[in-house]
């Protein structure tokens, strides 16, 4: 392929990615040339700026027609864009968290933290919009490997080390499993482009050894369930979340999880929509199993969370449970899969980042990750306490918060398609979750806490406020988001291969 061919692509579409890449490179260079003992805090601001630029570009792209470059390996459709926006916003806020985070004095100087976040974000974005197994895999790994390092970035910290190692081992195995599945898909179709694959999969010759298809299906699903920390690949989450520095935990529990969902949605819907299973469409055949997985995830997450005392661990389990919730639309295959998933992820983004912001604030001030660190918070930081209450209420899915509307949407999609049992499991586990969520509330409001007033730094405060406003706003007037999604993104173009 020649240079002019290369130039013929409309690279402009890639503007958001480029701005991220460039920022990443800039960060690394600056980090390289900065004197050693100088704090890298400014880098965070730079990164933030880069992300904001990316956001601007992305927003400008809203409503554009489907486009693709590099021979359809990388496509720009509303689906990708919609989720990219979430990643960008989330990461932007995580940068603000990172700005505040000082672990042991050493690593405040380290710049890689910031540009690794960048690359991880880039990986997520690639996952969102790649239309080819290869790019998709590369994106996935870009995200994974960066986050392995991020998890372990506190070199001197036992927990951090261990977290990183556990993450790397599990991640490696997950990758291997996923890839193994992919290799079968490739083998059966001889294609790596998703749309080409979906056409090939209906080919009778493929149908002959449909078991391989199903095997591939299962393996890819299990492999990817690692990213979204859903059963059966969920157990790493608590340890890794606990061990990683809080901003990273936030990143893992929000961005990386969202990326996982994006990948699953795109991969499975595009590839397998037409494919035969053992009775009828494979997605329909698989429904009960995925439903079971989702149910198990909710149960495990919520039930085990009851006994957690370490706040980060508790929220790890809670995020496992939420993974279960988000799987429900995917199971139900209703007409609003994307809308509900997207909205729920949006809500999840806001409330979870908000909650982690407060957690980072409290744990770093109290030098303790035990959930009693929250005791009497409403005396020491009333406003923060109030905002935490909002996040918790939203996570518990109680009204006037985005979390409720999100759950509502999920219920609509599941009950509309008659998945009564799954819905019941979800509602029951939700009620269970009240208990541990409100345990934190009890700590904040009922228990007497030691110590005097504490106030969050600007970065944290901004994040908290944004998240609070968002949570309430989308809870009280969700149409804001829903209409934006409805008008801005014509999700059906996910299925129209670009010529």
């Amino acid at each position: 392929m020649t240079l002019d061919k290369l130039l013929s692509f409309d690279w402009g579409m890639m503007a958001p990615e480029f701005s991220i890449v460039i920022t990443a490179i800039l960060l690394s260079l600056i980090d390289l040339f900065m004197p050693n003992k100088v704090s890298r805090k400014p880098l965070a601001l730079l990164g933030l700026a880069g992300i904001i630029v990316a956001i601007v570009f992305a927003v400008l792209q809203v409503g554009d027609p489907v486009g693709s470059i590099l021979f359809d390996t990388y496509r720009f459709d509303s689906f990708a864009l919609a989720f990219k926006l979430l990643f960008l916003v989330a990461t932007a806020m995580i940068f603000l968290l990172a700005l505040d985070f000082e672990g042991e004095s050493k690593w405040a100087y380290r710049g890689e933290f910031y540009y690794l976040l960048m690359t991880a974000l880039l990986g997520a974005m690639m996952m969102a919009s790649s239309a080819d197994l290869i790019t998709l895999f590369v994106g996935l790994e870009l995200l994974s490997i960066s986050s392995y390092i991020l998890a372990g970035i506190r070199k001197r910290n036992f927990h951090s080390n261990e977290a990183a190692f556990k993450y790397v081992v599990n991640g490696g195995i997950a990758t291997a499993i996923t890839l193994f599945g992919m290799s079968y898909i490739y083998g059966l179709t001889g294609q790596t482009n998703l749309y080409a694959i979906s056409e090939m999969l209906v080919d009778p010759r493929v149908q002959e050894n449909s078991f391989l298809v199903i095997m591939a299906f299962v393996m890819m699903f299990v492999g990817l369930s690692f990213k979204i920390s859903a059963a059966p690949f969920h157990m790493w989450a608590p340890d890794v979340y606990q061990g990683s520095p809080t901003p990273v935990t936030t990143f893992l529990s929000v961005v990386s999880k969202m990326a996982g969902f994006t990948l699953i949605l795109r991969l499975f819907f595009v590839i397998f929509l037409g494919t035969q299973g053992w009775h009828n469409q494979i997605l329909l055949d698989a429904q009960p199993f995925i439903a079971f997985v989702a149910g198990a995830t909710m149960v495990i997450g919520n039930v085990v969370a009851l006994r957690q005392r370490n706040i980060k661990r508790m929220f790890a389990y809670s995020s496992i449970a939420h993974a279960g919730y988000v799987l429900v639309p995917f199971v139900s295959l209703s007409l609003i899969v994307f809308k509900t998933t997207w909205f729920y992820l949006l809500a999840y983004l806001l409330m979870n980042i908000g909650a982690f912001a407060v957690i980072q604030f409290v744990t770093s001030r109290e030098k303790s990750e035990d959930f009693t660190a929250f005791s009497g918070l409403n005396k020491r930081a009333p406003l923060t306490a109030f905002m935490m209450a909002i996040f918790i209420i939203s996570l518990a899915g109680l009204p006037f918060t985005a979390g409720f509307i999100g759950k509502f949407g999920i219920f609509m999609s599941s009950l509309g398609t008659g998945h009564y049992i799954l819905a019941s499991v979800m509602i029951a586990t939700t009620v269970v979750s009240y208990v541990y969520y409100f345990n934190v509330m009890v700590q904040i409001y009922f228990r007497k806490g030691a110590g005097n007033r504490i106030r969050p730094t600007a970065g944290l405060a901004v994040v908290m406020v944004i998240c609070t406003i968002g949570t309430l706003l989308f809870g009280i007037y969700p149409s804001l988001a829903l209409d934006f999604f409805q008008s801005g993104f014509d999700i059906n173009d996910l299925f129209t291969p670009s010529e």
Binding site: F411, A423, A428, Y434, V435, L482
Partner: protein, 508 residues
């Protein structure tokens, strides 16, 4: 169409919340005064609504409708966009309930003088709770109802858990979990209905569900399906009502929560269950309801007797009242199950009258506890000597709740039984046993506290000041008013009930 009266009514407590938000945490008297004044605003609006309501008109009045949430799902049974409106409105029943809510809230706020600490937070939550309760009755669609319903959950949890007695947190949790489960089931039912019919508006739903069965059959809303939904509804609301055996949480709450909150709780919150059964159970599934009416009546009688029996051997007056609430809610079920004018109206009367009576009794509990530090019948006794007026009110409250003619309790009890006797005389006859038992346990408890030799511990007690028993006076006045001239309620209620009876549900 475009009156914002109801929105004003529902959200008027916000004013108080905002004012309180900017007040110092320590000014006890000031905070209490503001808290009390704040409840007067909704009261005023409620009165305006009540006065402005035209009883002669069956339609939903003061309607407000705005597009709110829009999921825009194409190609579902109703084929349309799934829009959920923000819509409020009142009918003859809800306007009464709104007024009741406002009144009881104000009096409960007055009863909050006995709150010892954190007045600011207390009153903010209190007002939030009031928003929830008002919203529940004012809303005209399921989602809105549910949202307000859950709104009541959170403040109540805190009010019980922070300002209650020794075992408060346990009580708060069991409140949370039970009601959480209840509302969860409720939510599922609501959403199923929504997905099947594409609307959440009461009127829309009832008119949709009142189509001939075969039509519904085509929309996959078969008989079993409807029955399933109805049962689920009854279970969900049965937690709130409460129906035996789903009642245990409510005992804990009654015993542990501060009196002012119990006034609200047993005065209003329990009534939401009754209202739900009426509005959804009967309004949406009249035919199915009719078919299981016997079982509901049976449950009602069980509630009535079960509560009465157990109340007879309680030593803590609060527990007596708790079980008596169980028993009295049985009468609501009885009335509803009879499905005729008399019964339904009896049930609704019971909703109102028990609201007032239990508010009165728990107010007195607070009054007594404040002075004696106990509510154990065995520790009290001969109060009539030292606190004649309080004792008098206690006696009045007791007589009212055992259904003495001339007080609201009698009217409701009488109507409910009148209704039931028409439909199922034998069951009703069994139920009347409850009338005797009620007299038995109420007198045992009340006389145990007021009559007999005065305990030494009580001898130095003094009669509360006038302002302190003013709320009791107001409640008594209302109870007697309804008892002596029930037309004040029935005139405004009956059209709505007749409409419901006609199977139309509420008509816009």
């Amino acid at each position: 169409m475009e009156s914002i009266l109801l929105s004003a009514l529902v959200f008027s407590p916000l004013v108080g919340i905002l004012v309180l938000a900017f007040m110092p945490n320590t000014e006890e008297r000031l905070l209490k005064t503001v808290g009390l004044l704040a409840t007067l605003l909704p009261l005023a609006f409620a009165i305006i609504t009540y006065v402005g309501f035209t009883p002669g008109n069956v339609n939903i009045q003061f309607v407000e409708q705005y597009r709110w949430i829009d999921f825009q799902i194409k190609g579902l049974p109703n084929g349309g966009d799934f829009t959920i409106n923000y819509d409020l409105g009142v009918n003859g029943l809800t306007v009464v309930l709104l007024l009741l809510t406002a009144i009881v809230s104000t009096l409960a706020a007055a009863a909050s003088v006995w709150i010892k600490e954190h007045w600011k937070g207390y009153f903010m939550l209190f007002l939030l709770l009031e928003i929830g309760m008002l919203g529940v009755f004012a809303s005209q669609n399921l989602l809105l109802f549910f949202i307000f319903f859950e709104i009541t959950l959170i403040p109540t949890f805190f009010l019980i858990g922070k300002w209650g007695y020794i075992d408060k947190e346990k009580a708060a949790y069991s409140f949370l979990v039970y009601n959480g489960l209840g509302s969860a089931i409720l939510l599922i039912v609501f959403i199923i209905l929504y997905m099947k019919t594409g609307t959440m508006n009461y009127t829309g739903l009832s008119s949709f569900l009142h189509q001939p069965p075969e039509v519904l059959e085509q929309m996959y809303i078969g008989d079993e399906f409807r029955f399933g939904l109805l049962i689920a509804l009854l279970v969900a609301l049965g937690v709130k009502l409460p129906i035996v055996p789903l009642h245990t949480w409510m005992l804990k709450v009654h015993v542990q929560a501060p009196p002012s909150i119990v006034m609200i709780h047993s005065g209003i919150l329990l009534k939401i269950g009754a209202y739900g059964v009426y509005q959804f159970g009967i309004g949406f599934f009249p035919e199915e309801f009719r078919q299981i009416a016997f079982w509901i009546a049976l449950l009602g009688v069980i509630n009535l007797l079960y509560g009465a029996f157990i109340a007879f051997v309680q030593v803590d007056f609060k527990r007596v009242l708790a079980y008596s609430s169980v028993s009295h809610m049985g009468i609501v079920l009885i009335g509803l199950a009879s499905l005729n004018g008399a019964g339904m109206q009896g049930a609704m009367f019971q909703v109102v009258s028990h609201g007032l009576i239990s508010a009165l009794l728990f107010f007195l509990v607070g009054l007594i506890y404040e002075r004696t530090g106990t509510s154990l019948i065995t520790h009290l006794g001969g109060m009539a000597k030292v606190m004649p007026i309080t004792a008098g009110f206690l006696l009045v409250g007791g007589l009212a709740s055992l259904g003495l003619p001339g007080m609201s309790g009698f009217v409701s009890e009488f109507m409910a039984f009148l209704g039931l006797f028409k439909e199922m005389p034998v069951l009703a006859a069994v139920g009347t046993l409850g009338i005797i038992l009620t007299a038995v346990y109420i007198l045992r408890a009340v006389l145990g506290m007021t009559f007999g030799e005065t305990k030494e511990s009580l001898l130095q007690l003094k009669e509360p000041r006038f302002v302190e028993w003013l709320p009791a006076l107001i409640l008594t006045a209302l109870i007697v008013l309804i008892g002596v001239y029930p037309a004040v309620l029935s005139d405004i209620l009956q059209l709505t009930i007749n409409a419901m009876m006609a199977g139309k549900g509420a008509v816009v």
